[in-house]
Subunit: 337 residues, 2 copies
């Protein structure tokens, strides 16, 4: 029987198509851009908008975000937006929305959440950008469907997030997951945090590039690394490192193998301790270095404890740059506080 | 004014003294003994009882536990016992009470929870012994009053438990916390688990003793180690190792310093990743080696990330051998499942 177009159920389906239910605003604040999106409850992006930051003062940044938000909202005028979450690359005071330090923005002690809430006339939840991205992957990306997830991001820095029993593990002061600053070498290489021997000092994108530059300068500008960078030190990047290492360039090999070894063991050890159902690998460095992803996977299956590795799936992040937008929006709705 | 002995409030206080409210049974099953206790809701031991295991067949062990339970119950006849929890040194099937492997008891695939429940005519919650001990410390010992605790035990083996937001982190298959089997040396020393380079292979009590024996045999039976052991290899133990190392015996120094270095870095790195309010150090090796505890504390404050170490307290376990009894009883009441 053909359904009566006037009957309740068909009308509801049509209404659902037009109106996706209560949605949230997600905002991703980087060092150069602010993005905003309207996201539905399943993590689908309904509209997105992006603004460039020309002035990094808190007031100007809040203004730029507000424009991006307006544009994202205007694209889906009929949608009901309930919550608002914003991810920012910063150390935050737990719960208050206050930025303690945001190096990319040059901020210290900025009441960012309060400023943005006043501007948007809406309650705003401020979270760390990596937490937002990990939550996005968990709810709408590579971590969908499981409750115990460990998300490891290698970009310019190295960070991780622990999701246990479907909840984010925050730690006592909200800084759990700082895998980049575990020590892998006692009195080792100087890290951006001021300490020595951190994982990030060997594996983070900035540090991979710094190590390449140091090695090239020491050895003179010969070899595959500089060939691939067309003779320009400033063109060196992690993808070139991987290419040169796989091409058996000895300088590249040393830096690359060391990075893979430290990262692989750190990932395996966290799988041993946390016993996740899924390990998700993401971030700019890993998305450009498939060989490194392969080595980390192999390390997990070689080095994690037998009982933990037997049940873990290792996958790559699925949402790319959208994970932070989606995660900030969903976190604001799903895990307030 | 002297209180009227007939007035309600005094009567209630007296009643509370006699009847401490709903209590639980806690059972701690080791390889040689079974202990049972009646525990009140605050983790206070009201009675304890201990039985020796002469026969390790599941039926005989259940019988011995039953006797210990009867004795503990008979000592406090007026008490209302509601739940029953048992901690056992075993790998368990999550949720079912089934022991997969218990090396100390020589068990494989034993439906222990079901056997014990039938015998006691009561529902029984079976948990790993270390989980029980950690929960005891969290609720009634050194972890009281905080929600985010990391408990690290070094005894014959090395294990840990993560308590986050007041809840135990179980992991996807119930084996989270296996710090003893993180890798600290690639292709390193053989561990009891069959893998190479585990933390436990360098730091666990059995392995400290094995390393001392190997070193003494290699070097001939001279030196402080054998002097402290009165010439008897079988008397070597972790306390002697520490004493000899602090006395600058070179054999002892090498083994001891390596153990402290690996353990200190592992503890620091878990503090970095988990951001606990409190790190609790316990277990037979650490309780006999105050120098090792001191070195682990120093490592945490030297090597954990700045943001994590700033807020962590490092303390020693407070309940000794009772932590498992207390924790098993409280877990059965407080975190069923």
């Amino acid at each position: 029987m053909r359904p009566d177009p006037r009957c309740g159920s068909v009308a509801r389906v049509q209404a659902n198509d037009i109106n996706p239910g209560p949605c949230s605003l997600g905002i991703d604040l980087g060092g150069t851009h602010a993005r905003a999106a309207v996201v539905d409850a399943s993590g689908r992006l309904l509209s997105t908008s992006k603004g460039t930051l020309t002035d990094r003062s808190p007031e100007a940044v809040v203004e730029a975000i507000s424009h991006a938000v307006q544009a994202a909202l205007e694209a889906v005028p009929s949608v009901d937006v309930v919550h608002c979450g914003v991810g920012v690359a910063a150390q935050l005071e737990p719960g208050s929305g206050r930025v303690l330090v945001a190096p990319n923005l040059g901020w210290r002690e900025v009441p960012f959440g309060a400023l943005l809430a006043a501007k948007l006339k809406q309650k705003v939840r401020v979270v760390n950008d990596l937490t937002a991205a990990a939550w996005g992957e968990h709810r709408a990306g590579a971590g969908k469907g499981v409750e115990d997830v460990y998300v490891l991001f290698v970009g310019s820095g190295v960070g991780s997030a622990i999701i246990a029993g479907g909840k984010l593990l925050h730690g006592a002061t909200g800084v759990a997951g700082e895998l980049g600053h575990i020590k892998v070498v006692r009195d080792g290489r100087l890290c951006g945090c001021g300490e020595h021997g951190c994982l990030e000092a060997y594996v983070g994108g900035h540090n991979l590039i710094a190590q390449m530059k140091e090695a090239v300068k020491e050895a003179g500008s010969r070899g595959l690394l500089m060939e691939l960078a067309e003779g320009d030190l400033e063109k060196l990047n992690p993808a070139i490192l991987e290419q040169a290492a796989l091409g058996e360039d000895p300088l590249a090999r040393r830096i690359y193998d060391q990075a893979c070894r430290f990262l692989g063991m750190a990932a395996a050890n966290q799988v041993t301790v946390l016993n996740p159902a899924r390990l998700i690998l993401g971030g700019g460095v890993l998305s450009h270095c498939p060989g490194m992803v392969k080595q980390v996977k192999e390390s997990v299956f070689a080095l994690a404890s037998q009982v933990s590795r037997k049940h873990v799936e290792v996958c790559e992040a699925a949402l790319g740059d959208d994970s932070g937008l989606i995660g900030a929006a969903l976190l604001a709705t799903e895990q307030p506080g």
